[in-house]
C-alpha cells in the first residue's frame, strides 16, 4: 500500500454546552494513504462533521480540540503535526495541502463577489500570482465540465446548485492539495446532478491523484466512491476497513444495523429496518460499548467494558471495536442468504 | 370617570377597593393568599387610577391569575395535578369558563415572567410605569400652579426663576411657578395624545395591510403605492406643512393627522405576513369554509403578528411624541399649559436657555421626555419576549 500522508492519533474534540462538555469526538485514530478515499459513515450527530472541522481547525468558538496528534506528510517527505502549527503556518497549510468541499453549495459561496474574485482571494492568501491562479482555475473549471469563461466571471446566484457544487470542487483543487475533505457534497442536489458530480470526482481523482476524506450518510455513494470505510458512532470509530470488507463482511453491530437500514434495490420496502432508540447523550455517555443500549447482540460485558478497536482474525486491515463480531458476521451471512 | 382622561380620584380608590374584593375573595376561597392579596392590590391601584375603566378589566385579569394557581385541569391529566381517577372529559359550561379563565391567568403569569426576564426591557417597563404613576397619582398630592406667582420674587433678583430648593425640588419657572407641579400635570396630555396617535396608526396599518393582502389586485397596488409614497416623503416636514394649513386645535385631530401619516411601515409588514399566511393550509381551509375576512384576520393573522404590531405600536408612540413635542417646540400648534413641550417652548422663548440658574425649568421636561422615550425603546425588548410564542410555550 502507498505511503501514509495523514496520521491522526487519539483525537478528541468537545463542545462547551450549558449542561456540560459534549464529547463530540473521542479518541479517534486513523490513517489516510496517498491517493485513497476514506469515507466516514454514520448517523447525523455522530461526530463526522466535527471530526472534519477539527482536521482543518475551524471549529466554532465553543468547540475545542482536547488532545491528539495529526501528523501530516508533505510532498517533500517532511512530517508536521498540524495541531502544533501556529496561526500563520496553519493558514498557509489550509487549502494548499488540505482543502474542503462543504455541504450545502448554496451557502458556501459569498453571494456578493464573483467566482473569479473568490479564486483570486484564495490565490492571494497563498502568494500565488493572479495570472497563474486564473489559468489553473479555468483549467479546473473545464475539468469539472463547466463553461470556464462564463462561470469564472459569474456571481454565485447566476449558477444552479449543481454548477455551484462543481465550482466548489474546482476551487478546492485550485492549489493542488494532497487531501480534499468532502462533507456530504451530494446531499443538497438532485440525483442526476449527484451522478455527474460523482463522475467528475472520480475522473479528477484519476487525473490529479489526491486523497479524499469523504463524509456521507448515504451508503450507496460511500460504497461507490470509497476505497476504505470508517463507521462512526457517538464520536468514535467503531469499525474501519476496505470497502468490500465493510459492506460484505461487517463485524460491528452498528455497521450491520446501518446497512440494514439502507434501502436496497433488491429488497422490498418492508425489509427496511430502522435502528431502535436514539444516539446516546454525549455529555454523559453510557459506560461500556456506547452502542449496547440499542444493540441486538449485546452481552453482559458490553455494559461495562468498552471494547477496543482491533484487527479481525481474517483481515489485518479490517479493525473493529466489538466483542461479538463473529455473531454479527454470522447474522449478516444469514441476511445475505435470504 | 370614563374616557381617556385619567387622573386618580378618591372615588376611584373606593371603586378599586370594591373591585379588589373579587380576587381577594377568590384567593381566600382557593387558599391562594399571595395571589389574592396581589390581585386586590392590582385592582385597588388600577381602580384608583382610572375608576371603573381600570377596575373592571383588572378584576377579570386578577381573578384569572388567582384561578390559574388553583385550577386543576381535568381535561389534561398529564400536565395538571389532577389524579387520574378524577379525570372527567365531560365538562359543564362553568368548568369550561373556568378552564378558559385559568388559561388566561396562566398566559398573564407567563407574560409577566417574560417581561421580567430581560433586564433592559424590564428597566424600560419600570420607567414607563414611573411616568404613568407620577402622571396619574401625582396630581393628588401636588396642586397645579397656573397663575404667575409674583410674590415669590426674591429681593434684588432680576427674574422669578429660581434654582431647585427644598420647597420647590425642581425650582421655579419664569412666572415663579413650581416646576414640579408642571411636570406632574404636564405629561398626561402628551402621553395620551401620543398613545392615541400610535393606536390610530396601528389600526389603519392593520386594516389596510390585511385588505391589501387579502383582496389583492387593484386594492393592493393602490394601498402599496400610497404607502411607498408616504414613506418617501419626510414625515415631519409634511406634518409642519399640514399644521400650517389645518388648525390643529384638538389633540385628537393631531393624533389623527399623525396616524394618517405613519401607517405605511407596519402596513407593509402586515401585508407581507398576511401574504405568507394566505399560502398556508389552515388559512386556505378557513377560506374554503367561508369563515370571512375578519375571522381570518382575527384568528389567524393577528396572533402571528401581535409581537411585531406591539413593538411597532411602541415605536409609533415614540415617533408621535417626538413629532408632537417638535410641533410644540416650533410653536406650530396652539399651546396650552400645562405641557412638557410647552415648558420647553416658553423656556426657549423667554431666553432662559442661556441662563445657568434656569436649568431646572428646561432640563426637567427635556430629561423627562428623553427618559420616557428611552424607556419605550428598552421596553420593546421585553415585549418581544412576551409575545414570542416560542418562549411563551415553556411555562
Amino acid at each position: 500500500m502507498s505511503e501514509v500522508i495523514l496520521s491522526v492519533r487519539n483525537l478528541s474534540v468537545s463542545y462547551l454546552a450549558r449542561r456540560g462538555r459534549v464529547r463530540a469526538v473521542s479518541n479517534v485514530s486513523f490513517e489516510l494513504h496517498a491517493g485513497e478515499t476514506l469515507a466516514f459513515i454514520g448517523e447525523s450527530g455522530c461526530g463526522k462533521s466535527t471530526l472534519n472541522l477539527a482536521l482543518i481547525r475551524t471549529l466554532p468558538k465553543t468547540g475545542q480540540i482536547d488532545s491528539g496528534t495529526m501528523i501530516y506528510t508533505r510532498r517533500d517527505g517532511q512530517q508536521i503535526d498540524v495541531l502544533k502549527l501556529n496561526k500563520q503556518e496553519h493558514r498557509r497549510w489550509l487549502w494548499s495541502e488540505c482543502s474542503m468541499v462543504f455541504q450545502g453549495a448554496l451557502n458556501s459561496l459569498n453571494p456578493v463577489i464573483r467566482i473569479s474574485d473568490m479564486i483570486y482571494d484564495t490565490a492571494a492568501a497563498h502568494g500565488i500570482p493572479r495570472e497563474d491562479a486564473r489559468k489553473q482555475a479555468l483549467d479546473l473549471l473545464e475539468k469539472v465540465r463547466l463553461d470556464p469563461q462564463r462561470v469564472f466571471n459569474s456571481y454565485p446566484h447566476e449558477l444552479s446548485g449543481g454548477m455551484r457544487q462543481r465550482v466548489l470542487l474546482a476551487i478546492s483543487l485550485l492549489l493542488r492539495p494532497q487531501i480534499v475533505i468532502m462533507d456530504e457534497p451530494t446531499t443538497a442536489v438532485d440525483i442526476l446532478t449527484q451522478r455527474s458530480i460523482l463522475d467528475v470526482l472520480k475522473e479528477l481523482r484519476r487525473e490529479l491523484n489526491f486523497s479524499v476524506l469523504f463524509i456521507s450518510h448515504d451508503l450507496a455513494v460511500a460504497a461507490e466512491i470509497a476505497d476504505r470505510i470508517a463507521t462512526m458512532y457517538a464520536g468514535e470509530i467503531v469499525e474501519i476497513g476496505p470497502v468490500e470488507e465493510i459492506f460484505y463482511r461487517p463485524r460491528h453491530a452498528y455497521t450491520l444495523a446501518l446497512l440494514d437500514a439502507a434501502p436496497r434495490l433488491s429488497a422490498g420496502a418492508e425489509e427496511l429496518h430502522s435502528i431502535p432508540g436514539s444516539p446516546p447523550d454525549l455529555i454523559m455517555p453510557p459506560p461500556g460499548c456506547k452502542f449496547h443500549e440499542r444493540c441486538a447482540f449485546a452481552v453482559a460485558s458490553c455494559h461495562t467494558t468498552p471494547p477496543p478497536l482491533r484487527p479481525t482474525h481474517d483481515a489485518a486491515c479490517h479493525l473493529v471495536a466489538c466483542t461479538e463480531s463473529e455473531r454479527v458476521l454470522a447474522a449478516q451471512r444469514k441476511i445475505m442468504r435470504q | 370617570m370614563f374616557g381617556l382622561t385619567t387622573i386618580a380620584s378618591p372615588q376611584g380608590f373606593f371603586i378599586g377597593a370594591l373591585c379588589g374584593l373579587v380576587p381577594l375573595g377568590a384567593g381566600l376561597y382557593y387558599r391562594q393568599w399571595r395571589a389574592g392579596v396581589g390581585g386586590f392590590l392590582a385592582c385597588l391601584l388600577s381602580g384608583f387610577a382610572c375608576g371603573f375603566l381600570g377596575g373592571l378589566p383588572t378584576i377579570l385579569m386578577s381573578y384569572a391569575v388567582v384561578l390559574s394557581y388553583a385550577y386543576v385541569n381535568r381535561q389534561d391529566p398529564f400536565t395538571s395535578r389532577a389524579a387520574l381517577e378524577e379525570v372527567n372529559f365531560e365538562e359543564t359550561r362553568v368548568e369550561q369558563l373556568q378552564r378558559q379563565l385559568a388559561n388566561l391567568g396562566r398566559g398573564i403569569r407567563t407574560s409577566w415572567r417574560a417581561l421580567t426576564r430581560n433586564r433592559a426591557g424590564f428597566l424600560g417597563f419600570l420607567g414607563i410605569m414611573f411616568f404613568v404613576v407620577v402622571t396619574v397619582f401625582g396630581p393628588l398630592f401636588i396642586e397645579y400652579e397656573g397663575a404667575a406667582r409674583l410674590d415669590r420674587r426674591q429681593p434684588g433678583a432680576r427674574s422669578l426663576i429660581a434654582p431647585p430648593s427644598y420647597e420647590h425640588p425642581l425650582g421655579l419657572d419664569w412666572k415663579g411657578r413650581d416646576v414640579l407641579s408642571h411636570m406632574v400635570h404636564g405629561g398626561q396630555r402628551l402621553i395620551l395624545t401620543s398613545i392615541q396617535a400610535g393606536l390610530i396608526a396601528t389600526v389603519i396599518a392593520v386594516v389596510l395591510g390585511s385588505l391589501a393582502a387579502l383582496l389583492g389586485g387593484v386594492v393592493d397596488s393602490l394601498i402599496s403605492n400610497a404607502a411607498n409614497f408616504i414613506l418617501t416623503i419626510p414625515s415631519f416636514p409634511l406634518l409642519l406643512v399640514l399644521a400650517s394649513l389645518v388648525n390643529l386645535d384638538s389633540d385628537f385631530l393631531l393624533a389623527l393627522l399623525f396616524g394618517v401619516l405613519n401607517w405605511p411601515t407596519l402596513m407593509r409588514a402586515v401585508r407581507a405576513q398576511v401574504f405568507s399566511l394566505r399560502e398556508r393550509d389552515y388559512v386556505e381551509a378557513a377560506v374554503a369554509l367561508d369563515l370571512g375576512v375578519w375571522h381570518i384576520i382575527s384568528r389567524e393573522v393577528f396572533p402571528n403578528m401581535i409581537s411585531y404590531i406591539a413593538v411597532n405600536l411602541i415605536f409609533t408612540i415614540r415617533v408621535a411624541m417626538y413629532s408632537i413635542v417638535g410641533l410644540v417646540f416650533l410653536g406650530l400648534v396652539p399651546l396650552s399649559e400645562p405641557d412638557w413641550g410647552v415648558m420647553i417652548f416658553t423656556g426657549r422663548q423667554q431666553g432662559v436657555l442661556f441662563q445657568p440658574q434656569a436649568a431646572g425649568m428646561l432640563l426637567a421636561p427635556i430629561v423627562a421626555i428623553a427618559l420616557f422615550q428611552l424607556s419605550l425603546v428598552l421596553f420593546t425588548r421585553s415585549l418581544e419576549e412576551v409575545f414570542n410564542p416560542r418562549l411563551r410555550s415553556g411555562l
Partner: protein
C-alpha cells in the same frame, strides 16, 4: 448590385431593431427602474402639495386675499388681482389649467415668487440655503453610517468583548433619545452649565465678521459652526447603525461562506472586510434611505435651534410667516432630496449586491 441595395434597408431595420432591444433592455435595467420610480414620486408629491395648498379649507390663497383686504383696505377684486400676481395664476382659470401651468413652470425650474420677501424668486432663496443643509446633513450621514458600521462590525466580530459590552449600552441609550432633545441636553449641560463652548457663538452658519471667500479662515469658521449640528445628527443616528450592524454581523458570521473563506486560508482582515463586512452591510444600505428622511426631519428643529441658515430652518420660517410659495418650493426640494437619496441608496445596493440587479436567476 441588387444584393447591395436590398441589404441596405435590412441593415437599417436591424439597426432600429437593435435600438429597440437596447431601449427595452434599458427600461428593464435596475438603474432605470429606480430612477423612474423616484421621478414618479417627485411628481406625485408636487401634485399633492399643489392641490393641498389650493383645496384645503382656508387655503393660503384665500387667507392671503383676506389678509390683503384687511391690512391694506383693498376691495376683494383688487386683493384677488394682487394675490394672483404673487401666486402667479389667473383665479378665473380652471384648476386643471392652473395645474398645467404650474407644472410647465416647474419643469423650467420656476418655483414662483416669495410672498413675504418682496417677490424674490423662491428658487433663489432655496439655492442660497440648500448648500448649508446638504453639507451638514450629508457629512453627518456619512460619518454616522461609516462609524456605526465599523463599530457594529467590530462588536459583532468580537462579540462579548469590552467594546461590545460598552458600546451596546451606549448605543441603546443614544438611539432612544430624540435628536432635538439631545441637542438641548448638549447645549444646556456642556454649553450653559459646563461652558465647554460659548452657546451664543455657535449660532448661525458662519462667523459673520469673516469675509466670504475660499480662504482657510472662512472654511475653518464654517466647519466650526457646523460642528455641533453635525455632532448631534451623528449622535442621534449612530446608535441605530451600531445596533443594526452588530446583529447583522452576527447573523452573517453564521453563514457557511464565512467558514469556507476561513478554510481557504484567507487572512482575517480579508474575511472581515469582503466576506463579513460587505454582506452584513447590505440590509443597512436599504435603511440608509429611511434614515435620510429622519435626519432631514430632524434638521428643521436642529437648524432652528442653532439658527443654522439651512433649508430646514427656512422651511419653518416660511411656515411661520405663511409664505406658501416658498414653503411649497422648499418642501418640494426637501422631498426631492430625500427621493434622490433613496435613488442613491438603491443604486449603491445594486452595486454592492449583484442579486438585486437582476430579477431572475440563470439556471
Amino acid at each position: 448590385m441588387s444584393s447591395l441595395t436590398s441589404s441596405a434597408p435590412k441593415l437599417k431595420r436591424d439597426e432600429t431593431a437593435s435600438l429597440l432591444i437596447r431601449l427595452r433592455r434599458l427600461t428593464r435595467s435596475y438603474a432605470f427602474r429606480i430612477i423612474a420610480q423616484g421621478l414618479i414620486t417627485i411628481w406625485a408629491v408636487t401634485t399633492f402639495t399643489f392641490f393641498l395648498i389650493r383645496l384645503m379649507p382656508g387655503n393660503p390663497v384665500d387667507t392671503y386675499i383676506d389678509a390683503l383686504m384687511q391690512q391694506r383696505n383693498l376691495t376683494l377684486e383688487e386683493a384677488q388681482r394682487a394675490a394672483a400676481g404673487i401666486f402667479e395664476f389667473d383665479p378665473d382659470e380652471p384648476l386643471v389649467q392652473q395645474y398645467v401651468n404650474f407644472l410647465s413652470k416647474l419643469v423650467r425650474l420656476d418655483l414662483g415668487k416669495s410672498i413675504t420677501k418682496g417677490g424674490t424668486p423662491v428658487l433663489d432663496i432655496i439655492l442660497r440655503y440648500l448648500p448649508w443643509t446638504l453639507f451638514c446633513v450629508g457629512v453627518a450621514l456619512i460619518i454616522s453610517f461609516a462609524l456605526g458600521v465599523l463599530i457594529g462590525l467590530a462588536m459583532g466580530y468580537w462579540r462579548g468583548g469590552l467594546l461590545d459590552n460598552v458600546m451596546t449600552g451606549f448605543a441603546s441609550i443614544i438611539s432612544g433619545i430624540p435628536d432635538y432633545i439631545l441637542a438641548l441636553l448638549i447645549l444646556i449641560i456642556f454649553g450653559v452649565q459646563l461652558q465647554w463652548f460659548r452657546v451664543g457663538e455657535v449660532r448661525g452658519g458662519v462667523d459673520p465678521t469673516i469675509e466670504v471667500g475660499f480662504t482657510l479662515e472662512y472654511i475653518g469658521s464654517v466647519l466650526r459652526y457646523a460642528f455641533l449640528p453635525v455632532l448631534i445628527y451623528v449622535l442621534a443616528s449612530i446608535g441605530t447603525w451600531i445596533l443594526a450592524m452588530k446583529s447583522s454581523t452576527i447573523s452573517t458570521l453564521g453563514e457557511d461562506y464565512i467558514t469556507v473563506a476561513q478554510a481557504r486560508g484567507l487572512s482575517e482582515r480579508r474575511v472581515l472586510t469582503s466576506y463579513v463586512g460587505r454582506n452584513a452591510m447590505l440590509p443597512l444600505v436599504t435603511r440608509l434611505a429611511i434614515s435620510v428622511g429622519f435626519v432631514v426631519s430632524g434638521s428643521v428643529i436642529i437648524e432652528e435651534m442653532f439658527q443654522y441658515p439651512g433649508l430646514g430652518r427656512n422651511l419653518f420660517v416660511a411656515i411661520a410667516q405663511r409664505d406658501y410659495t416658498t414653503m411649497q418650493g422648499m418642501f418640494l426640494v426637501i422631498t426631492s432630496a430625500v427621493v434622490f437619496a433613496n435613488i442613491l441608496a438603491d443604486l449603491a445596493l445594486g452595486w454592492l449586491d449583484p442579486r438585486v440587479r437582476l430579477d431572475k436567476k440563470v439556471d
